[in-house]
């Protein structure tokens, strides 16, 4: 039986493992954290229709029966032996893999790097992930009862050369609009402001979500990036931006500011990729695929495959499609089908 190592137990890793297992391979799934699901496990609901993340994850996990997976496991070393890869995990397990699939996903941009937004300094500044966690658990001292005004800053750590990420993280606009609506559901009287540069509502149903945020929830969209955040004596946040549509500086006092942290390539995954010399051929930090259109699942090395956000920001359905595509590509590779 052929061995396939899948690195990363997020949605792409789970889906690819399930598919490969069904194709008859011996799949070894390596996950660094104590639970499966990656970022999905920390999310509450999913855009555009608000499906609970839990339902999606449960469905995925239920599909991987028979897959060997190791939690809290890291790839300690990986190197080529003849035509297969010798993968040594930190828990002492060694696998001779016929193919390796990177589904290492993404790290959220560390919002404290945008110092001017004061994440970690001002009490009422949180990130999209923090807000999701609050939606899930309703536990976060920073989210207080009856807020008057709440702001969302799009593109935090995206489209920002100074932050090191010039690219668009793709999902934050839709996430911001989703969260803006959800926060209105929680606090109907709150005034919600979204500070955006462009609204990238590219997917099916996203534009409707945007319209609904305006029409049904009265969310105010301000075209302009927040330039700085300060705290006043009442611990409220004073946010400055330009309303670029009127060409005027704008100021608003908020009770909560949510930073839409973007995606950057997973640092753990990058370390492993370094050993293979396939990390970061592109200047955006994401793994370089064999080509940009036709061979999205192939790395530049034989037998190493990619799926999901490790090759650039992706939505959940994108990642799942890639996972399925990767499973087929690996199958073809192992069977010698060209």
């Amino acid at each position: 039986m052929k061995n396939i190592v899948v690195i990363g137990g997020g949605p792409a890793g789970l889906e690819a493992s399930a598919q490969l297992h069904r194709l008859g391979y011996n799949v070894i799934l390596v996950e660094k954290s104590p639970q499966l699901g990656g970022h999905l496990a920390k999310w509450d609901r999913l855009f555009p229709s608000g499906i609970p993340a839990k339902d999606v994850l449960e469905k995925m996990v239920s599909q991987i029966n028979g897959v060997k997976y190791f939690l809290e496991a890291n790839v300690q070393s990986i190197n080529l032996l003849h035509k297969s890869y010798n993968v040594i995990l930190n828990n002492g397990i060694t696998v001779l893999a016929d193919a390796v699939l990177f589904t290492t996903g993404f790290d959220l941009f560390p919002a404290q790097k945008k110092e001017e937004y004061g994440y970690g300094i001002y009490e009422k500044v949180i990130t999209n992930a923090d807000l999701e966690n609050w939606f899930k658990t309703k536990k976060d001292n920073r989210v207080t009862e009856n807020p008057k005004r709440i702001g969302f800053v799009h593109c935090v750590g995206s489209r920002d050369e100074k932050a090191g990420n010039r690219y668009c993280s793709k999902v934050c606009c839709a996430t911001a609009v989703k969260q803006a609506c959800e926060i209105k559901q929680e606090f109907p009287d709150v005034e919600v402001f979204c500070f955006y540069m462009d609204l990238r509502m590219f997917g099916r149903g996203y534009e409707d979500m945007y319209l609904s945020a305006q029409k049904d929830y009265g969310v105010r969209f301000i075209r302009g990036r927040v330039s700085e955040v300060a705290e006043n004596i009442n611990k409220e946040l004073i946010v400055k931006a330009e309303d670029t549509l009127s060409g005027k500086p704008i100021k608003v006092t908020l009770d909560l500011l949510v930073l839409m942290s973007g995606m950057q390539n997973c640092s753990e995954g990058t370390k492993v990729a370094h050993q293979l010399g396939i990390a970061n051929a592109g200047n955006d930090g994401f793994f370089e695929t064999k080509d940009a259109i036709y061979s999205q699942q192939h790395s530049t090395r034989e037998g190493i495959f990619f799926a999901g956000a490790c090759t650039g920001p992706k939505t959940l359905p994108d990642s799942l499609s890639e996972a399925r595509a990767a499973a087929i590509e690996i199958h073809n590779y192992v069977k010698g089908i060209r």
Binding site: Q112, E115, E116, G118, Y119, G120, I121, Y122, E123, E228, A230, E231, N232, I233, K235, I238
Partner: protein, 338 residues
């Protein structure tokens, strides 16, 4: 405000400051506006702390004001600067320290520009040779005088006679720190603590017993802005900026303001008078303004210098309330006796 968050950022922006042997250059305008500050700096560093700070009467302006007023081109100011560096080299120094923030900004800008465009540096070399028959070497280390006082803050605290503590209440004085724009905003990595939450003055205040106030418009310019002030018809704009800062700090009821720039203490001090004339509004106690100091003046005060020797009688806003709070004795009769 989460103090640990700021500490994290401060730890990211620590610059190495050599301990001794500096070539010191003065500011053009400080000698008129706050004449004892530079004298105090040299007295503290040389005589109280026993350090080597050399200065020569042959140094000139850096050309910063003219450069920022668009009256001389960049090459001219760079050539002036090259001459200063030549003087430093001539007297056998490698560490360069300037009293002025505009100079510090311009020196940094020049060195960074030369690093990016070596051909420009070569041309300046040529210019300097043609004009002055001088050759220069770039300083090994560039500091602002406030970096030096920051470096020695604990040495000063060890010799201090007074603390920034209100002796009537026993509580720390509430101190607003104002950093000159050109200190860290252009090149955050060249500053102590970065551009967003600079630590250079905050460190002094903490070391000397005061409490730093972080108010919403802390980052804002003092209002000088070179041509905004120099042209009378623009002065309303200069004033409006200062006004905005005071409106923002008002609720915090600060006891004093410390600055590290030639222009800032002047404008924060004198514009308070103008605002009180125009708007009938004052921001200090009992209808007075908030006293404004340079960091050298404050260092001198805590070390027990006679306030009038520090030139505090030159301030528009009388320093007496602060002296009373700290408990520094002074002879009111001697204030204007030189």
């Amino acid at each position: 405000m989460i103090y640990q968050g700021k500490q994290k950022i401060w730890s990211d922006y620590q610059k190495e400051i050599p301990d001794d042997h500096y070539f010191y250059v003065r500011s053009c305008i400080r000698q008129n506006l706050f004449p004892a500050s530079e004298k105090t700096f040299l007295d503290i560093t040389r005589n109280k702390l026993g350090k080597d700070f050399f200065e020569t009467e042959h140094h000139t302006t850096c050309g910063g004001i003219a450069y920022h007023c668009d009256t001389i081109p960049q090459e001219t100011s760079m050539t002036i600067i090259a001459r200063q560096f030549a003087l430093m080299q001539k007297y056998g120094y490698e560490n360069y320290v300037c009293s002025c923030i505009t100079s510090f900004g311009l020196y940094t800008e020049t060195l960074e520009t030369w690093r990016e465009f070596p051909e420009l540096e070569a041309r300046i070399k040529e210019n300097l040779w043609k004009t002055c028959k001088l050759e220069f070497a770039k300083p090994k280390y560039l500091a602002h005088a406030s970096d030096i006082i920051y470096k020695y803050r604990n040495l000063i605290a060890a010799q201090a006679k007074y603390k920034l503590i209100n002796r009537h209440t026993g509580k720390p004085l509430r101190v607003v720190e104002h950093i000159g724009c050109h200190y860290g905003k252009m090149f955050p990595s060249k500053s102590v603590g970065g551009a967003e939450y600079p630590y250079v003055l905050a460190g002094m205040i903490e070391a000397w017993g005061g409490e730093v106030i972080d108010y919403p418009e802390r980052r804002h310019c003092c209002g000088y802005g070179f041509r905004q002030y120099h042209i009378r018809s623009n002065r309303g704009y200069s004033l409006a900026n200062t006004y905005k800062k005071f409106e923002s700090m008002e609720p915090y009821k600060p006891d004093m303001i410390i600055t590290n720039c030639p222009g800032c203490p002047y404008f924060l001090d004198r514009w308070q008078y103008v605002i009180s004339e125009m708007e009938g509004k004052t921001y200090g106690e009992n209808g007075h303004g908030i006293p404004v100091f340079t960091y050298e003046e404050v260092a001198g005060l805590v070390m027990g210098y006679n306030p009038w020797d520090l030139g505090l009688q030159m301030h528009q806003i009388g320093p007496e309330p602060v002296l009373d709070k700290i408990g520094i004795p002074y002879d009111p009769q001697a204030k204007y006796l030189l």
